[in-house]
């Protein structure tokens, strides 16, 4: 049975960029910072594409943000997503606002599965998927992973780690839990958030990039969706964490042992 999948592609600071706090603590310095799709969302997009390849159907990529957020939606389209929805909104966000807006998109689109990165690497909150599931009354499977390593044969064959049952009524998700790997079966529709070791995302091909330019990118004004857009989690100030000072180099194991035993008294 074909699957309709909604997947997110948030614009974030490139994790390779150096993040520095403005002297007054009001924000981060954005000069010289590159932007890209949230790496966890890239894994979600990859998983959505593999599920479509296995079952047929449609991958709709969604994001909330300003005009520049189009770049990351186009990147997901270039990877192979079918169409995109940009909820235009320029202010700060929190999980309450994000989940309310995404819930509206889900009500319009009625996907079988909403796939999100487990967290975005800017605010690192790890909340949006869980809030979305609660709002929709859908089951959730967070931190989707797989039992095999990323060097395994299943990964070489680009098989989805999320296994949708024949008939498309339910999905099995292996998830990273405390102390082991838990396998959940969720009835669809469901929200799945993805962890690092679910898959290795593909790179967009040149034909993919060309095709992406012609794919539909629909814009919705956040204010038109009847959602309270005021975030309840408000950042008051930012600071750089205290730096740990480097210590000394030791010459050999004997000196290391001595330092640990006599100076640090940890052994």
């Amino acid at each position: 049975m074909p699957l309709k999948i909604l997947v997110t592609a948030k614009r974030v600071e490139d994790p390779e960029s150096k993040i520095r706090v403005k002297p007054d603590g009001s924000g981060i310095v954005t000069d010289g910072v590159n932007y890209k799709m949230n790496p966890f969302d890239e894994i979600a997009v990859e998983e959505a594409l593999r599920l479509r390849e296995a079952h047929g159907g449609e991958v709709v990529v969604a994001a909330i943000g300003g005009e520049k957020q189009q770049t990351e939606l186009r990147a997901a389209l270039a990877m192979g997503a079918d169409r995109a929805i940009l909820v235009r909104h320029d202010g700060p966000l929190d999980a309450l606002v994000v989940s309310a807006l995404l819930a509206k998109v889900c009500e319009q689109e009625r996907p079988d599965l909403a796939l999100l990165g487990k967290q975005s690497i800017d605010d690192d909150q790890n909340q949006a998927g869980q809030y979305l599931a609660a709002r929709l009354g859908w089951p959730q499977a967070t931190f989707a992973s797989k039992s095999e390593s990323l060097e395994s044969e299943a990964e070489q064959k680009k098989l989805p780690g999320v296994v949708v049952a024949a008939g498309g009524k339910s999905a099995r998700v292996v998830r990273e839990a405390d102390g082991g790997l838990q396998t959940l079966e969720v009835q669809l529709p469901a929200v799945v958030t993805v962890d690092l070791r679910l898959n290795k995302p593909r790179f967009a091909s040149l034909p993919g990039i060309m095709k992406a330019k012609k794919k539909e990118l629909k814009e919705l004004a956040a204010a038109s969706l009847g959602v309270d857009l005021a975030p309840a989690v408000v950042v008051r100030s930012l600071a750089e964490p205290p730096r740990r000072k480097g210590g000394v180099k030791v010459a050999d194991v004997d000196e290391l042992w001595k330092k640990l035993h006599e100076e640090a008294k940890v052994l």
């Binding site: 999980a95 967070t142 405390d178 838990q182 396998t183 079966e185 070791r197 950042v235």
Partner: protein
């Protein structure tokens, strides 16, 4: 009424130590707000774990039901909401474990509450709480205010001392009304990572291996065992399939703060350092003298880990 509710965790009927650190944060909050402290434990067959929560000055709410046996957020979140409302909690928190991060946001949404994840410390004055938390992989620490009447949070266990002993506290059984047949989530399997070693986040000593092990973790494991410690790994080692997922130390893995952390063959990417920089003493062993790990290590040794680790293990054994 402005009370504090901490959601504790158990696994296989045993209380998780991380929960006592969350309860420690709860004691600080209750002292700040003047509210009463409550703690909830959800699961099935959890009487023994619940006893471990008495004696910290908190009222203990025990929700014991077969449908809560597998820690399913869909089943547990409404129970957390019910307990939070019953005890008049406006601050609802847990440890920032995988379970806490799965459950608390779902409960927060049902409470219409804003949430702060992985809280490192408390700011603000008196009952006006600001939550200090990491952003951008720990490169930035933010102070955030939550403006909803109910505020939800998870705390990084290594940043809060465990709860101090207090009054015995009443233990109450929660009447749980879950329609198990209506649940749309089912736990099919749980592959426990069995280990004779202490849990990574609770160990006094952690020995971690990275790319420099070239996939051979024997020396790392042998030193960890000589020290009675846990084994960790960098993301590179885990991604390569050399080490299981739950060994990963870092911003996206586990955050540890042992007495002694030994980083062997780990370059020291910021992502990794974010997960171990709270350790009391850090030792780095790396062949590359320019590796960034040396900038955070108390003691650095530029050498081959395959020679250093076994020699250090011998010294440890000889000293016993």
């Amino acid at each position: 009424m402005s009370n504090v509710l901490i959601v504790a965790e158990q696994f296989d009927g045993k209380l998780r130590k991380a929960s006592l650190h969350a309860l420690g944060a709860g004691q600080q909050l209750a002292a700040r707000t003047g509210g009463a402290l409550h703690v909830a434990l959800l699961g099935h067959g959890i009487a023994e774990a619940a006893r471990g929560l008495a004696g910290f000055g908190a009222t203990v709410h025990v929700a014991d039901h077969p449908a809560l046996a597998h820690g399913l957020a869909e089943a547990a979140a409404p129970v957390v909401v019910q307990i939070a409302r019953d005890c008049g909690a406006t601050l609802v928190g847990a440890a920032a474990t995988a379970a806490g991060k799965d459950l608390l946001p779902r409960a927060a949404a049902l409470l219409g509450a804003g949430m702060a994840t992985e809280v490192l410390g408390l700011g603000g004055a008196g009952p006006a709480i600001l939550f200090r938390r990491p952003m951008w992989a720990g490169n930035v620490v933010a102070e955030v205010e939550i403006t909803t009447p109910v505020k939800v949070f998870t705390v990084r266990p290594t940043e809060f001392a465990p709860a101090a002993a207090g009054a015995a506290g009443e233990v109450r059984a929660v009447a749980v009304g879950i329609d198990a047949a209506a649940l749309r989530t089912r736990s099919v399997d749980f592959q426990v990572v069995k280990s004779e070693r202490p849990e990574l986040t609770e160990a006094r000593v952690v020995v971690s291996g990275g790319r420099g092990t070239k996939g051979d973790f024997k020396a790392v494991e042998a030193l960890a065992d000589a020290l009675g410690g846990a084994v960790g790994a960098s993301r590179a080692a885990v991604d390569a399939g050399w080490a299981p997922n739950d060994w990963q130390v870092g911003q996206t893995g586990k955050v540890v703060a042992p007495e002694l952390y030994v980083a062997a063959g780990i370059s020291g990417a910021i992502q990794h350092v974010a997960g171990m920089k709270g350790s009391r003493v850090i030792v780095a062993v790396n062949k590359d003298p320019e590796a960034p790990i040396f900038q955070v290590a108390d003691y650095g040794l530029v050498a081959d880990l395959f020679q250093v680790l076994p020699a250090l293990a011998e010294r440890v054994k000889a000293s016993r």
